[in-house]
Symmetry: D2
């Protein structure tokens, strides 16, 4: 798994991209994020292809990212750091 | 839930888009598709935002969709038809 | 998929058991339930073996089922009815 | 997350129990295991309550655990060790 790249804002949205060992690891991470998002009642746009997951966070009503997007981005970063700790050791 | 739109091929890939009642229904569908994809060892590119899931199937090695993409598209269509049957009754 | 059996209460807990077409369908359903449970901040005990999922709802603090268990049982029943509509048509 | 307890065989089945930080982490792990199980076409019995997941592996046709159960147990242990590496650092 690679270091998460906190990409530069594109059109004002928070974006993140993570690369995992395989599809199962990527989807397990996605499921964990999904549960947090549902609890926060705020959902990221995500794109995945095999071991790669991208998130894009913005508030569609506002047309720009808000505090809720920042909060969700911080949750995603925390979950990814947890996965990174394990990647540092295992990969 | 809306009728799945079997979209016209874009740059030669099979694409599908489905709209569900909410995020939980969309992600449950995505999990079911993920398990089939893993079993077939062939994974779709997917994008989701809240209740909407898009798939794009192509073979990256080949640069075009192959028989494996067609097979996976047929599985996705079958799972969506099952969900549609339920949408006809409930929504 | 079989008709969900709203089993008689065992030691005061709400229990449910559902049988799906296969593991992928069962796990997709489980993921949908999981998202609702996380949002409600109330989680069922669940057991699964291949195409079969059992739920057991009680409040461990109280030692008996409470209103929150009843609410979650109703959500699970609603999601299962949706799946049943599709089972009536497809299986 | 606690150290995974490779429990003594009960009636000849492999059993495992893991405790995670919360439900989201537990279910993310479960989703990753589910994908591997589906690919191997061999599924564990699992029970979960909030942050706790138990597996029980046996071959129902044989009435005892077989080589396929041992293989799946090894996959589950590997995924749990990965999670443990992260637990050592984070918790």
């Amino acid at each position: 798994m690679e270091t998460p790249a906190a990409r530069a804002h594109q059109d004002g949205a928070y974006t993140r991209e993570f690369v995992f060992a395989d599809f199962a690891e990527a989807f397990g991470f996605l499921a964990e994020v999904a549960l947090h998002a549902e609890k926060m009642d705020h959902h990221p746009e995500f794109t995945s292809v095999w071991n790669r997951v991208q998130f894009r966070l913005t508030s569609h009503d506002e047309g720009r990212p808000t505090e809720r997007d920042r909060d969700l981005a911080m949750v995603i970063d925390r979950l990814a750091l947890k996965a990174l700790g394990r990647a540092d050791r295992k990969n």
